[in-house]
C-alpha cells in the first residue's frame, strides 16, 4: 500500500501525495511520459526512498521496501551464461540460499515457459524469450510483488501474446504491478488500473471502469492515434491535464 507518498528530484516534484492500494492479481499502471511511473516503480523496488509518506508491505503496517522482483524496461543479460545459471544466480543475489537456487531456477523457468531452454546460452534466445528470462530472474526468489516496467515493448505480436500468458499465470497467485503504454495489455491482463499524471494518481479503479471511461472506440487499437486519443481523453476527463 502506498500512503501519501511524495518524491522530489531537487526542486522538481515527481510524485505528490500518492495513495494507492495494490492487491493480489495484476494491477496496471498507466501514464504519459514524465507522469512519475518510473519514479513510483523505483520507490516500490526500493531503489529510492519516498520524500514523504511511506510504502506499507503487509497487514502489520510495516513500513519498508517489500520483497520485490523488478524487471526494468531496459535490462541486459550476459550472453555467454546459460539460461538456468542466469536465473539461479539472480536467485542467489536476491537472497535464496545457494542449495535452493537450482530448484528456484527450475521453478521460475517453468513459470515463464522457458524450462526447455534451461541449458541453452542466453545469446541463443529470441527477444521475447529474453524478456521472459528477465521475468524469471525477477521471479526466482519468489517476491511478494513483481514489478514489470513496459515488458511487452519491442516484442512482435506472437511474443507479446506468449508473455501475456505468462504474466496472466503469475498474476493468479501473486501481486503483479504492470507499467505499460499498451492499453491492450491492460485490457487483457489487469484487474485494477492506476493512472498517473503529473505525479498524481488521477485514476484508481477496475479495468472495466477504465474501459467505460475511455470508450470502446479508442480501445480497439494497440498503437497509433486510437490509443493516444483514448489516453488523452481519459487524462483530460480525470485530471484536466492537457499534452
Amino acid at each position: 500500500m502506498v500512503e501519501n507518498v511524495g518524491f522530489t528530484y531537487g526542486r522538481k516534484q515527481a510524485l505528490s501525495d500518492v495513495n494507492w492500494a495494490v492487491d493480489t492479481g495484476i494491477t496496471g499502471l498507466l501514464g504519459p511520459n514524465g507522469a512519475g511511473k518510473t519514479t513510483l516503480l523505483n520507490l516500490l523496488a526500493g531503489l529510492a526512498k519516498p520524500t514523504t509518506g511511506r510504502i506499507v508491505v503487509d497487514d502489520t503496517g510495516r513500513s519498508s521496501s517489500p520483497r520485490v522482483g523488478f524487471v526494468p524496461q531496459r535490462f541486459s543479460l550476459a550472453g555467454e551464461m546459460k539460461v538456468r545459471d542466469t536465473v539461479a544466480y539472480a536467485a542467489w543475489v536476491n537472497g535464496v540460499p545457494r542449495k535452493e537456487c537450482p530448484d528456484a531456477s527450475a521453478k521460475a523457468l517453468a513459470a515463464v515457459q522457458l524450462d526447455e531452454f534451461a541449458t541453452s546460452r542466453v545469446r541463443s534466445l529470441s527477444g521475447g524469450q529474453r524478456q521472459r528470462l528477465g521475468v524469471a530472474a525477477a521471479l526466482a526468489h519468489e517476491p511478494d510483488i513483481l514489478v514489470l516496467d513496459e515488458p511487452t515493448v519491442g516484442l512482435d505480436p506472437g511474443q507479446r501474446l506468449r508473455l501475456r500468458e505468462v504474466i496472466a499465470d503469475l498474476g493468479s497467485s501473486r501481486t503483479v504491478l504492470l507499467s505499460t503504454h499498451l492499453i491492450e495489455d491492460v485490457s487483457h491482463l489487469c484487474k485494477r488500473v492506476g493512472v498517473l499524471a503529473k505525479g498524481k494518481l488521477v485514476f484508481d479503479g477496475t479495468e472495466a471502469e477504465l474501459t467505460t471511461m475511455i470508450g470502446d472506440v479508442q480501445l480497439d487499437g494497440t498503437l497509433g492515434s486510437s490509443f493516444e486519443r483514448g489516453y488523452l481523453e481519459l487524462i483530460n476527463r480525470l485530471g484536466g491535464v492537457s499534452e
Binding site: L47, A78, A90, W92, N94, G95, C101, H141
Partner: protein
C-alpha cells in the same frame, strides 16, 4: 556439472576462471624453468620469486577480474539490481573470493616445482613467510584492482586496459628503489647473505592489504549504490581510495632500505696449497667445486701465497663490479661470487684477474702496455696456457712462464710490466 546444478559460484562458466588460472600457472612455471635447472638453490631467491612473478601474473589476474566484474556487476544487468538482498558486500565477496581463490591456487601450483627443488637443494635457511605473503597479496591486490576497473567501467572491454595498467605498475618497481615498498616486483632480487628487511616487507604488506581493502570497500559501495541511469558512482563510495594515496607518500619521501645483510654469517673454510677458501654455510656444497676450478690456476701460476678467496655471501654488503676489480685487488683478498646461475668456471676470471695484475690495472684505470700484458697473462692463466688469438705468451711452455712470473711478481702485482720484461 550435471543439468541439476546451475552455477551460482561461477555463473559465467568455467572458462573465465580456468583460462587465467592456467595462464598464471604456466607463466610461473615458464619463468622459473631456468631456476629449476640450477645446481643448488637458495631460499632467499625462491622466496623473492613469489613477489617477482607478479610482473606478468598481476596483469593476468587484473584483466580476468575486470572481465568478470564487467560481465556481472553493471546495474543494467537484471541480476545486479541494487535492491537485491545480496547485492553489495556478499556479491563482491563471492566474486573476488572465487577469483582470488582460483588465482592463488594456480599461482601456488606454478611454484610447486621450484619450491620442491629448493627443498631438495637448498642447504641453508628456510622460506621467508612475509616475503612470500607479499607475493600472494600482490596477486590479490591486482585482482581487486582489476575488479574495481570492471565495476567502475561497467564493461568487460576494459580487461586489456587493466592488463596494461597493472603491467605499468609492475614496471614501476623495476626502475629503482623509489617504488619498491609499494610494488611487489623489485628491480633486484636478494641472494644468500642478504634478506629483505622487516620494515620494508612490513610496509609493503600493509600497503597491499590497504589496497585490497580499499578496492573491495569501494566496489561494495559502487555495486550497492550504482544506478543504471547514472554513469558515475556516488562520490561517497570512493572515500576509501584516498587512503591508498596517503600510504603511497611516505616511502616515496623516504625509501626504506630494501635489504639487510647477515651479521657474522656462518662459514665453511678450507686451506688448499696456501690458499684459503671460505664460503657461506649455504654454499657448502660448492666449496669443492670452487677449489677444483681455482686450483689449476694456482698451480699454473706457481707463486701464489697468502691469498684468500671468499664467498661474496659472507661480505655483509653489496658487492659490485668495482669492489671485485679494485678495492680488494690491493690485498690478497678476492671476493668470489657463488651464484647458482654461474658455473664455478665462469667465476674464476676474478681470480685470474687478481693473479695476473689485471684487477690492479683496472683499479688504477691503466690502459697502456702494462694493462695489455696483464690481460694476456690473465688469459694464459685462465686457459692453462691454451691461449687463443694474439697473445704474447702463446707458445711459451708452462715452466718458462711460471719461472717468469716468479721473477716478475712485483711488476705483475703493481701493473707495471713492460715489453722488455717478457719471457
Amino acid at each position: 556439472m550435471s543439468d541439476r546444478s546451475p552455477r551460482t559460484l561461477w555463473p559465467l562458466g568455467p572458462l573465465p576462471i580456468l583460462v587465467p588460472s592456467f595462464l598464471i600457472t604456466v607463466t610461473v612455471l615458464m619463468s622459473t624453468i631456468t631456476m629449476r635447472g640450477w645446481e643448488f638453490q637458495e631460499w632467499v631467491r625462491t622466496s623473492a620469486e613469489f613477489h617477482q612473478q607478479n610482473a606478468f601474473v598481476g596483469p593476468i589476474a587484473a584483466a580476468a577480474a575486470t572481465y568478470w566484474a564487467g560481465r556481472l556487476t553493471p546495474p543494467q544487468r537484471v541480476f545486479a539490481q541494487p535492491f537485491a538482498a545480496r547485492n553489495g558486500h556478499k556479491v563482491v565477496i563471492l566474486h573476488l573470493g572465487t577469483l582470488m581463490t582460483a588465482f592463488l591456487i594456480s599461482y601456488s601450483v606454478g611454484f610447486i616445482p621450484i619450491v620442491a627443488a629448493t627443498v631438495r637443494l637448498a642447504e641453508y635457511g628456510g622460506p621467508a613467510p612475509l616475503v612470500i605473503a607479499s607475493g600472494y597479496l600482490g596477486v590479490m591486490a591486482a585482482t581487486a584492482f582489476g575488479y574495481f576497473i570492471g565495476v567502475i567501467g561497467r564493461t568487460a572491454l576494459l580487461a586489456p586496459v587493466s592488463f596494461v595498467l597493472m603491467f605499468g605498475v609492475a614496471v614501476l618497481g623495476t626502475g629503482g628503489d623509489t617504488f619498491s615498498a609499494l610494488v611487489p616486483v623489485l628491480h633486484i632480487t636478494p641472494s644468500l647473505g642478504s634478506v629483505e628487511t622487516v620494515p620494508f616487507v612490513s610496509y609493503r604488506l600493509a600497503f597491499l592489504v590497504l589496497v585490497i581493502v580499499s578496492f573491495v570497500l569501494t566496489c561494495v559501495g559502487i555495486v550497492k549504490r550504482q544506478r543504471s541511469g547514472t554513469r558515475f558512482p556516488p562520490l561517497r563510495t570512493l572515500v576509501a581510495l584516498p587512503l591508498v594515496v596517503l600510504l603511497v607518500i611516505p616511502p616515496l619521501v623516504h625509501p626504506p632500505a630494501l635489504f639487510a645483510f647477515e651479521v657474522d654469517p656462518p662459514r665453511v673454510c678450507l686451506n688448499e696449497q696456501g690458499v684459503e677458501y671460505c664460503v657461506h654455510e649455504g654454499h657448502r656444497s660448492q666449496l669443492s667445486n670452487i677449489v677444483s676450478a681455482v686450483d689449476p690456476l694456482i698451480k699454473i701460476h706457481g707463486s701464489v701465497s697468502d691469498v684468500r678467496i671468499v664467498d661474496e655471501a659472507l661480505r655483509g654488503a653489496y658487492v659490485n663490479f668495482d669492489d671485485r676489480m679494485s678495492v680488494y685487488a690491493m690485498s690478497n683478498f678476492i671476493w668470489y661470487p657463488v651464484d647458482p646461475f654461474n658455473s664455478a668456471e665462469s667465476s674464476i676470471r676474478l681470480v685470474s684477474s687478481h693473479l695476473s695484475g689485471l684487477a690492479r690495472c683496472r683499479q688504477e684505470r691503466k690502459y697502456d702496455v702494462s694493462a695489455d700484458l696483464a690481460s694476456d697473462l690473465e688469459q694464459w692463466l685462465r686457459t692453462s696456457g691454451s691461449t687463443y688469438g694474439e697473445n704474447v705468451f702463446q707458445g711459451r711452455t708452462v715452466e718458462v712462464v711460471k719461472t717468469w712470473i716468479a721473477q716478475h711478481k712485483q711488476a705483475i702485482e703493481t701493473c707495471s710490466l713492460t715489453a722488455s720484461q717478457l719471457p
